[in-house]
Amino acid sequence: MASRNTIVAHVEDRPGVLARVASLFRRRGFNIESLTVGHCEEPGLSRMTIVVDGDDHQVDQVCRQLFKLIDVVSVQDITYTPMVDRELALIKVSASNFNRREVLDVVEVFRADVVDVHAEALIIQVLGDEGKVDAAVKMFEQFGILEMVRTGRVAMRRGTETTKPPAISDSQQAAAAIRAMLGRRPEGVLPFASD
């Protein structure tokens, strides 16, 4: 069964890196649901959260192919690890004196924020995981959505575990760390771990 998977990649902050990643997804026929990229705690590196559709075998291939790109420093599939994932949406909802109160009730239920007010419209900022944002969007539809933008997922592992790439100091150690990261899935799920 295809499902949504969350992959975190650290890449060198260089021109063309996004094109390399996009080109790889296109060429291998992998289906990107969303890709979010931005700075991280380490200068010189960018952190990508990539949501892909696919079965375990496909996602394992995505990670391995991604890591082959020279500019990709680390890749981790965190689908099966405890994590926090968030998405932000800005939704411009049609709202006038007649129904503004109703709209604001929905805003309150979703603990969303009104970030812009106009006589005929509101911009509402919704923050949460994908399910929450989906639900909010559905509720606002009844008032008329004039425009919407969603950021796509960003995600982080819970607890002290991180997705940070290994330091480069020793090539052998780096290789070991990378191998340990690749295909981080429960025993028996890996396409090659079962008899």
Partner: protein, 559 residues
């Protein structure tokens, strides 16, 4: 010391020990050509088409076991390299490709002869660079050679704008090392993976090895033979793995795949353990994936972690360099004997031998390769194009030495045979035999001029049946004999050779061919030989497209 970008580039090539590179000049690389005279130790070979520069660098790399280098100007020069780069990429050949580009201020403005070659080659290079400062050249070239020649090898492109060749930068020697955080060397396999593989191999009753290009690239023939002997495992190769296993060895059972040896395909299909070494379970080798020996356990040794589990479920993946992995695996492999299994394959081999025995006077493809093998004592380096002649050369020549076999396997590039053989000839003195199709030869025959310029002793043996033979074979077998666009007109190849100042000869019978082989022993210049073959000979055996290895057929009657 301050040097221009052009000089820095040449200093880098010198520091890398580059002896020869293949190129074609043009507007934006003029500053570079302006400095070539100062570097006489780095031989520049002027080709007649940029595609040939890439194939020549590829052929040189495969035979020399070193990184090949080619150069082209911007725009059309760069795009002409694309087929050659893709060929090298598909077969993991180490290559550094240098291109010029328009001056920096014209980039992105559709300048004259501008092409976004780094964008174009994204999916066909291991990595590529567009350098915007002369100070970036030395570190980038160092990285390019490092990336091209380590791990799973491949082509790396370095694109340099015209004014960067002219700009000056500080040169304080070639960089000592590289710092590539996203590119750790993964040569050494994990212990637990080696243990698991050894466990499966030791328990095997009908094991088979499939040796791929990785064996040749890692130069692990010695380790492969030792491993096979110790575990008493028959060895098959993939098309590109040919020459990785000495074929005169009793454990050598040919190559498998669409036109592989019958017994090789059967052995792969009946094995209980398949040990893939430096290969990628390609569809042409394995037949229909879903029906490839479903009960076999698969051990897969490969340098590229992305190849593990790509096409098949693998029971014991081992990610590491072939030579490194085999030397770690060897002490764990128990001395074993599989007399019944060997006898089973030997019996298939006896019933379905590959020796061509048909009597006659007409030239047949298999006969010609066998005769060539005899004339050259099986010691020549063979370069081929793509098609029937390629398959016959794979099937009937007895390869024993690593790097003795050069062919475009992954991409299947027609026209490869002429420039690749030319480039390969720069890596060795003994004459190279280029086995050509009459179709492929017409694609790149302009390089005969380059061959003549350097008086290279390449023997271009055109397997001339006047057809695009392999396509014709498919039209005959699978498209009801409906021949279309396969009956090739052609020039008089002997006269063509002579027009280039090259010896041209023709053989139409077996006796003439034998005589020719004898005559050529004492000739050390280039030769074009027009071998006129029977026109509608087919390549057998064959696994029809989409069929399984177990469905290998040996004649049209089996269809």
């Amino acid at each position: 010391m301050r040097l221009t970008g052009a000089r820095i580039l040449m200093e880098c090539l010198r520091a890398e020990g580059v002896e020869v590179f293949f190129g074609y000049p043009g507007g934006v690389v003029l500053p570079l050509y302006n400095t070539l005279g100062e570097y006489p130790d780095i031989k520049h070979v002027l080709v007649r088409h940029e595609q040939a520069a890439a194939h020549a660098a590829d052929g040189y790399a495969r035979v020399a076991g070193r990184t090949g280098v080619c150069l082209a100007t911007s725009g059309p020069g760069a795009t002409n390299l694309v087929t050659g780069i893709t060929t090298a990429y598909m077969d993991s050949v180490p290559m550094v490709v240098l291109t010029g580009n328009v001056a920096r201020d014209l980039i992105g403005r559709d300048g004259f002869q501008e092409a976004d070659i780094t964008g174009i080659t994204l999916p066909i290079t291991k990595h590529n660079y567009l350098l915007m400062r002369a100070s970036e050249i030395a570190p980038a070239v160092k990285e390019a050679f490092h990336i091209a020649s380590t791990g799973r090898k491949g082509p790396v492109l370095v694109d340099i704008p015209k004014d960067v060749f002219i700009e000056e930068a500080e040169w304080d020697g070639y960089p000592q090392g590289v710092s590539l955080r996203g590119y750790p060397i993964m040569d050494v396999p994990r212990e637990e993976e080696v243990d698991k593989a050894a466990e499966i191999i030791n328990a095997a009753r009908k094991p088979i090895i499939i040796a791929g290009h990785g064996v040749v690239q890692s130069e692990a023939q010695h380790e492969l033979v030792e491993f096979a002997e110790r575990s008493d495992t028959p060895v098959l190769t993939t098309l590109l793995g040919i020459s990785g296993m000495p074929e005169d060895h009793e454990l050598s059972y040919g190559f498998l795949g669409m036109h592989g040896h019958f017994y090789a395909n059967m052995a792969a299909d009946r094995a209980d353990v398949v040990i893939g070494i430096g290969m990628r379970f390609d569809d042409r080798a394995m037949g229909r994936f879903s029906d490839f020996n479903p009960t076999a356990k698969i051990v897969h040794i490969d340098i590229d972690p992305a190849e593990i589990g790509k096409n098949f479920k693998t029971h014991a993946p081992v990610n590491g360099d072939v030579k490194e992995t085999l030397s770690r695996l060897l002490p764990q492999v128990e001395l074993n004997r599989h007399p019944e299994w060997r006898a089973e394959i030997d019996q298939i081999m006896d019933q379905h031998p590959t020796d061509y025995v048909e009597e006659g006077t007409e030239l047949s493809g298999p006969w010609l390769i066998q005769a060539l093998a005899e004339a050259t004592q099986g010691e020549s380096t063979i370069v081929t194009g793509v098609g029937q002649h390629q398959m016959w050369a794979a099937q009937y020549y007895p390869y024993t030495k690593q790097r003795q076999w050069v062919t475009s396997g992954g991409l299947g590039t027609m026209g490869y045979e002429v420039p690749a053989a030319m480039g390969a000839q720069f890596a060795q003195d003994e004459p190279i035999w280029s086995i050509c199709g009459d179709g492929g030869f017409q694609m790149t025959s302009q390089e005969l001029q380059t061959v003549a310029d350097h008086n290279l002793p390449v023997r271009f043996a055109i397997f001339n049946n006047g057809f695009l033979g392999m396509v014709r074979q498919w039209q005959e077998l699978f498209y009801e004999h409906n021949y279309h666009s396969v009956d090739l007109g052609q020039p008089d190849f002997v006269k063509l050779a002579e027009a280039y100042g090259i010896k041209g000869v023709r053989a139409t019978t077996r006796a003439e061919a034998m005589q020719l082989f004898r005559d050529l022993e004492s000739y050390d210049g280039p030769v074009v030989i027009d071998f006129q073959l029977e026109r509608e000979e087919n390549v057998w055996p064959m696994v029809p497209a989409g069929a399984a290895l177990s469905e290998t057929i040996e004649s049209a009657e089996d269809l």
